[in-house]
């Protein structure tokens, strides 16, 4: 599974305030050789983009203090970051519509599994490889 994404060295932004989920999702991203930055609020995530940081993938939880994930996704897209793959995540399966309206590319209900993330990451790698050709 992870072997498909070996050598990808993608930059991932994990937007999550819960400690257990941060540890778990960071480990999954590490398995896919992603260089992972963690933001604990939507505002921290938006600020990273405003500072000029670039990411290939954003995993964004919906409920967070200060600024929630939906608002963060809207703001990230509003500042012109249209290429980054944004994955909305939540325990609430009903969050899909809200995330897609905010500008996410895909919604994944928690818990994220290795299979699901592998497919998303492989899609990003393929897109990057096609862009280089």
């Amino acid at each position: 599974m992870a072997s498909n994404a070996q050598g990808s060295h993608m930059k991932a932004l994990l937007v999550e305030d819960a400690a257990v989920e941060t540890l778990f999702h960071s480990a999954i991203l590490h398995m896919f050789h992603c260089e992972t930055t963690v933001a604990k609020t939507g505002k921290e995530a938006v600020d990273l983009f405003l500072e000029g940081k670039k990411f290939d993938i954003v995993l964004c939880e919906k409920e967070m203090p200060v600024m929630n994930g939906l608002e963060a996704v809207e703001k990230i897209r509003a500042i012109g970051e249209t290429d980054v793959k944004i994955v909305g995540v939540s325990v609430d399966c009903n969050a899909m519509e809200a995330f897609m309206s905010a500008g996410a590319d895909v919604f994944v209900p928690k818990p994220i599994t290795l299979d699901v993330l592998s497919a998303i990451i492989q899609e990003i790698i393929n897109k990057k490889n096609n862009a280089m050709v």
């Binding site: 400690a19 257990v20 989920e21 540890l23 480990a27 999954i28 325990v91 290795l114």
Partner: protein
């Protein structure tokens, strides 16, 4: 061999946790993330889960006392706990979290109180069982590959 016996006991305990519905497939995902660099990753995550979930349970208890009838607040707290339960595959606990959230949606305070007691009970049971599981694994030591015994 003591090692083999302890490993068997740990495997049996883990199987029973699945059979009795305490854990689901997600726990296997957590264990699959272990490697040479992080051989105790599952225990680390579970340890963090119990530390964090104790705090979340206390927050919920406080919210229920301090903000009676504030179902949105109660629900928001429980959503956090449910997310953590999902991450480690704590199936029975997450089911009780869902019951609590359903009661919040129905604005059923008594239902919330009943579900919350069940959440706390499942939390305590799961903690005890997983502590036993990891203790067995620690006693067994790192996994060893089988080797032939005897001379040439």
């Amino acid at each position: 061999m003591e090692y083999a016996n302890l490993r068997r006991q740990a495997a049996s305990l883990k199987r029973s946790l699945f059979d009795q519905g305490y854990l689901d497939e997600q726990f296997c995902q957590v264990e699959d993330l272990q490697d040479e660099a992080s051989p105790n990753f599952a225990e680390e995550v579970v340890s963090l889960f119990f530390k964090d979930s104790a705090r979340l349970v206390a927050n919920i208890e406080q919210a229920m006392e301090k903000y009676p009838g504030d179902f949105n607040r109660w629900d928001a707290h429980m959503q956090q706990l449910k997310g953590s339960c999902f991450s480690i595959g704590a199936s029975k606990m997450s089911n009780e979290c869902t019951s609590f959230r359903n009661s919040c949606a129905e604005e059923n305070a008594e239902g919330c109180r009943r579900s919350f007691q069940k959440v706390k009970r499942e939390h305590a049971i799961l903690r005890q069982k997983l502590e036993s599981y990891f203790q067995l694994l620690r006693q067994a030591g790192p996994a060893r590959t089988a080797t032939r015994s005897g001379g040439k």
